[in-house]
Symmetry: C2
Subunit: 629 residues, 2 copies
């Protein structure tokens, strides 16, 4: 494992995504809030296409990036302006914070240079959660930012929304008031710890664009800090809306600091992982005090949401005994072991309200963990899983009593016919709190391709109403993802989330599909590449068959060759059809089983003059390569 | 393009898939029919798992492969034994058969050495289609073979089938009589031209395992014959149930001969492609005589199913004018152009019964082409698409009047919420004839990842009842697939088809998932690799993080590391839970919103003695790496 001897060794990818430029749109409220977006430039006088942008300042050539300094504190003024926070001396970093009790004491990581000596928390008696403001009727700059950000593409929409939303209520336009209302009722969350002012606010909720999360993090076995910071920046470049740092083993605290200070997206963690390190990996030695201290440690660093496995209750543990794969959640199994060892109810469950007190002092959102999620097709939708889900519903209401934001984690491994039941039960049990699922994988038999087995399930559950999809990489079940795996995982989940938005009839979704298809039809190859989720891969694949630069403007592609091209024929068909009144065909809404002889005759007459014209023109499909570009 | 100067230059991959061995199972009818299967050997005394095997003799080390000689004629005796065929002198190969009218006259391909001088067809007045035999109540050896083949894994089934079959009627066991009945009513087809006796019979139908097709074929722009034969063998190694040769340009006839003589799976073609070559690529110059001659040419070579775009009728062409991507089917646009140029009804539609006469003389199945399928999300489920579909339903019934087997091709590009309508309308319009779809792609914005955008749609429409899924590779829309793309496409579609079988509750499907998950839970890494769809990739990914051979028997993986492992904890949980009577939890069918205090108390009592025992044992999660292997 490579040590980082010089901070300079941390390199990340910067610069615009090809064919795109960074733009900033002012909130229509005139409040001065500027929202980052990406604009894809097109050829042939086509309107540029605006897309949702998660990449932060890294893709803005005007911004100079300094990993050692971290990102600018975009939200600092908004937070201070509310006058409900106090600055205090941060908790001192302890040796155990970096896992010095672990087996391996080597491989030190340099601390982040600009660690804040003072941090923020709510003044006594205050609650700084976005949900609290929302319920008081306050529209925060964060809500304004979200509203503008979610409106991407809405303006371009020409046709009426077309989809099956399964009960979601997606408005034609997102207003700041709509965002406030969704947050107030708990149907959406805006995770952003007041100690992570670098974030560009985003919302997770069933009536917003479906979001995706990328997991990163090192472990005692592999990976290092520089690589994790690079993976974070790399993952948001391709579309990760949030990032979870799942580090275990050594250097957890310092690794997290480097990541948070350089992240424009919300960062989530599973605090029990670090707490376990602090007790040498012995689950039964975990105590509330150690866990509480870990929450404070991470709250002060700026973690935006905590996965808390408070639903793994003592009575549910035996329900997993007859499973094929038992308990596959790390957090779930830690708590299961603790419960068995002490034959006591989970301290996370019993101290839940105390945890909530901490959450609201920093505006950290709950991601209530599904510690008993199924780890195989055989275990899907079983008693243990749903027992925990209904407990998470109970805890959601308790968190809401203190105006703390909540989302609910979901499976896992689920065959297609059992996916919808997961969504339906979650909506019922958790009062429409946002659902955040891992896939689900729809079969167990494809290790090495689980980004796909899970992408299939993710697209479906996203369509049914899941608000955020936790990505799975090709390395799932096999190893730790490298940079390439992270990109494949992110792009796969981006396309699954987009497919879900399309199927829900999201007004902003179809614009990009139509623009790309139009570019494809018109042989605007560069536009086709630039409009895609991964322009570099699209062009590279094209060039493997047709490397010539001319081929990018050629009116043919390698699938049919220059000699024959169906798209070219279609353009001819269109030219002719346009010349006749084809209303008789286009008008009829209901398709008949057979077209009657009369209709066929009508068609012949209607088109005879066109045919003469065609013969006269004597057009040919034949297109010599010399004329191709 | 590399010429093939010596036949020896054609190399293909042979030998068993790792961890598996080829076995042959005799039909229970005792007829002597031997069915090839693959058996995956497991460690730790686990029962081997039998899986459906499409790879043919290439994975049998006992068989010596000679590409120059072609495969043994497995079905020859069965065909001759029926006494309804006659041998006659094959049609002489003409220059235009190999596209000598094309622009490039170089790059010759050596003819297949052992071309049959005589071929088979039905005696005058006879009909040699499997549907004809089925309707006469005859169970053919082909039907016996299919029955045994489809029963893979049935015996291992312990639990009751669990799924949502959407009206499919999948029996617990497939009998030859069931196969006969499904073929007789047109709900399944067994494509196997009497001039392609090398095939191992397989069925395509809604009540059988979902099948996948791989497209190969060269074009004027790229690829060559040796590569195509290699791709065919490579694609069936990973699970392609049928292969379509979509070659265009030069050497079409010879390329096809090499492929058919060496293929143990049914081969499909689109005859209009070759017919177009024969008229120099000028669609309006196509005639019935040229097309008919091409059908005979390919029928004598042994093509098992023909894609015929007879549903592209004159009145439907203008319906495509306002589409975003018009007509994207090559065959569809050829016929559309012919119809417009002559302002006549399609000769494929008007000569349909004559085409059927040819089909039944060789037992070629129809794959009625969807020439008007949508090429973009914007065009999905439109008037043109469904107008054609209902015409295909009309043609299906006309083919069935002559006992000719039929399947129906489907889209294409369809957002998730419009997929089921495609299946429902196809079932209604086409009398349950097998549906054979290309994906569908659920979004247009991910070129380079369209094996995934389409795999999502394929899994869903397969679940709804589609019988065969035509694969899409990562190169879709961009270029011609190479060997690696073919493998990725096949494995992606294999997992999608399997996910569909699982969701339908197919009795044979879940066995493999359970075996792999059990191996995963028990850290039998090699079994986990060998049970997966792609053992080589699975092991390679594992080894990238943990190369040590010891790691393959280690009770940990790189995701959590040796220090902490949730699977290990679960085994401990199980040991303890097993010691107590947990029926009180496992019995309850309905999950309650909250677990009452009484239940929690009951649990504490029930487990207290276990906890004492646990303390006594003083077990630890801690697992030093030295103990890891």
């Amino acid at each position: 494992m490579a040590d980082i001897n010089s901070p300079l060794e941390i390199g990340v990818t910067t610069g615009p995504i090809r064919g795109s430029k960074k733009i900033y749109v002012g909130a229509r409220t005139g409040s001065g809030v500027r929202v980052a977006m990406r604009e894809i430039q097109l050829e042939g006088g086509e309107e540029p296409v605006r897309v949702y942008d998660t990449s932060g300042p890294y893709t803005d050539p005007e911004v100079s990036i300094d990993i050692q300094a971290g990102l600018p504190a975009l939200r600092r003024e908004w937070i201070m302006g509310r006058g409900d926070v106090e600055e205090y001396a941060a908790r001192a970093v302890k040796p155990e914070d970096n896992g010095q009790l672990g087996p391996d004491r080597s491989g030190g990581v340099p601390a982040f240079p600009n660690v804040a000596r003072t941090v923020l928390r709510a003044k006594p008696g205050q609650n700084v959660s976005q949900m609290h403001y929302a319920r008081k009727g306050i529209i925060t700059p964060e809500m304004e930012y979200v509203a503008e950000r979610e409106n991407v593409g809405r303006a371009k929409l020409e046709t009426a929304p077309d989809g099956q939303a399964w009960g979601a209520e997606i408005p034609q336009e997102i207003t700041p008031e709509f965002v406030r209302d969704e947050v107030a009722r708990g149907r959406a969350i805006i995770p952003n710890n007041i100690n992570h002012p670098e974030t560009e606010p985003m919302a997770i909720g069933r009536n917003f664009l479906v979001k995706i999360n990328a997991n990163i993090g090192n472990s005692a076995v592999a990976s290092d800090v520089a690589a994790e910071v690079d993976k974070m920046v790399w993952s948001i470049r391709w579309g990760a809306d949030t990032v979870m740092d799942l580090s275990t083993g050594r250097n957890i605290h310092d690794t997290r600091e480097w990541i948070i200070r350089n992240s424009p997206v919300p960062i989530g963690t599973v605090p029990i992982y670090q707490a376990l390190e602090k007790v040498g990996g012995i689950a039964e030695d975990l105590t509330w005090d150690i866990f509480r201290d870990t929450l404070i440690e991470q709250a002060e660093q700026g973690v935006d949401y905590f996965t808390i496995h408070a639903g793994v209750r003592l009575p549910y543990v035996p329900m997993t005994a007859k499973r094929v794969t038992g308990i596959v959640s790390r957090g779930g199994s830690i708590m299961a072991k603790w419960c068995l060892a002490h034959h006591k109810e989970s301290f996370l469950y019993e101290r839940f309200d105390e945890i909530t007190e901490i959450m609201k002092a920093y505006d950290i959102a709950y991601s209530l963990g599904d510690g008993l999620r199924p780890g195989s097709i055989a275990d899907a939708n079983d008693e243990a899983q749903f027992a925990e889900l209904y407990t998470l519903g109970e805890l959601t209401k308790r968190a809401w009593e203190q105006d703390v934001q909540v989302m609910i984690e979901g499976p896992g491994h689920v065959p297609m016919h059992k996916i919808k039941e997961n969504m339906d039960k979650q909506l019922e049990a958790c009062g429409e709190a946002p659902f955040y699922t891992l896939g689900p994988l729809v079969t167990d038999i494809a290790p090495g391709y689980d980004h796909i087995t899970s992408g299939i399930g993710a697209a479906q559950i996203g369509w049914y109403g899941t608000a955020m999809l936790c990505y799975v990489t090709p390395k799932e079940h096999l190893g730790l993802p490298d940079r390439d795996d992270v990109k494949v995982g992110v792009v796969t989940y981006k396309l699954a989330a987009h497919a879900a938005d399309l199927a829900k009839g999201h007004p902003a979704a179809k614009v990009r599909d139509d623009a790309l298809s139009k570019a494809r039809f018109e042989f605007r190859w560069r536009d086709q590449f630039n409009l895609s989720l991964d322009p570099d891969t699209a062009e590279q694949y094209h060039d493997q068959t047709l490397p010539a630069e001319g081929a990018k403007t050629a009116h043919f592609c390698s699938m049919c060759g220059p000699k024959f091209c169906s798209m070219k024929i279609t353009q001819e068909v269109r030219d002719f059809a346009a010349k006749q009144n084809s209303d008789s065909y286009l008008a009829s809404e209901n398709i008949k089983r057979e077209t009657s002889a009369e209709e066929a005759e009508e068609a012949r007459e209607g088109m005879s003059d066109m045919a003469e014209l065609y013969k006269a023109k004597g057009e040919r499909l034949y297109l010599p390569e010399s004329e191709a570009d």
